[in-house]
Subunit: 196 residues, 2 copies
């Protein structure tokens, strides 16, 4: 005999797993609920028992992906000894994480279109962007970069890395990752307070 709670969790996990796989491979609009429930071995009744709508399932998948990215970034950054190294390492980790197909399609391409940019930003600020803003604030407090509003800078850098990651995935330029990291590092370095 299997408990109801276990069965419930298992079904939910199946839906999230297959939804994520299909959304990544084909994009939100091109995936039908029939595909998802068939792949998960259940019916539409199960899906609508767990999620309010197709967009709601997507939201849950997106939250998972974002949490993974944030965890990777935080983990990489925390391994560094000083605030500046943490900042640079975190940015590079984000760029690397954003090259994963699931991150590209779900988080960067479909996310804003499906949920609207405002809701997307709310979710993003709860994860990735939050770390970036905190790191910038810490750098200002440590006088490593000049005092300035962090919000605009956060979005400038976040957007730069997002777009660069998408470009990396589609380019055939040799050593694109290397040159991009170089250019990014140069940009980041330029933020530093000039040592007088």
């Amino acid at each position: 005999m299997i408990s109801r709670a276990d069965q419930r969790d298992q079904t939910r996990q199946s839906l999230l797993r297959e939804g994520r796989r299909l959304f990544t491979a084909e994009g939100y609009a091109a995936v039908s609920l029939a595909q998802i429930v068939t792949a998960a071995g259940v019916t539409k009744g199960a899906l609508y028992h767990h999620f309010a709508s197709k967009a709601d399932l997507f939201r849950a998948v997106l939250a998972e992906v974002q949490a993974e990215v944030a965890r990777e970034v935080a983990q990489t950054a925390d391994a560094q000894p000083d605030p500046w190294s943490q900042f640079v390492a975190g940015c590079h980790a984000f760029l690397a994480a954003s090259t994963a197909p699931a991150v590209q399609r779900i988080m960067l391409i479909d996310g804003p279109a499906v949920l609207g940019w405002n809701e997307w930003r709310t979710l993003d600020e709860a994860t990735s962007a939050r770390h970036l803003a905190e790191a910038l604030t810490a750098l200002i407090d440590a006088h490593l970069i000049p005092p300035q509003p962090v919000a605009p800078l956060t979005h400038l850098l976040s957007g730069a890395m997002n777009e660069a990651a998408l470009w990396l995935a589609s380019t055939t330029t040799p050593d694109a990752l290397g040159t991009t990291q170089t250019a990014l590092t140069r940009l980041l370095n330029s933020l530093r307070t000039p040592t007088s």
Copy 2:
């Protein structure tokens, strides 16, 4: 008596105009073809006579929007006397143009999701991104910034401005445009070759 060519153009313009209006206001997915053709005063037959699909109509609308943005940017940049001023003015013009609702929704949010990022990038490189890449190349040739691959830098800057523009549209922070321009200018300045 009205000529057939005139009638054809008029119908096409109506579809583009109403499509653009509705896509801007509600987003691609939320707009039905029935809405568009009703607003344009025609039927679905007319739409499919001019465009191969809903996505094809969107592509035509997107091309219009991109052309307008590119024209504004080029016009602003060309009014400047030297390459560096042209570059900075062009970036600021792009940031300003990207705050228009049509640009935000059609070009920045729905574009990549509807057409796929690869096709979106192809269209973008034919317009906005092309100017940016050319400006950067000119700056390198003039020894105003150090020699480096322009492609990654183009995407870093383009992404930064795109995301910043979206943030500007949704924030209530006072003087967000001003602080963003300041931060952007600082980033741009940091690219310059150090005067030794």
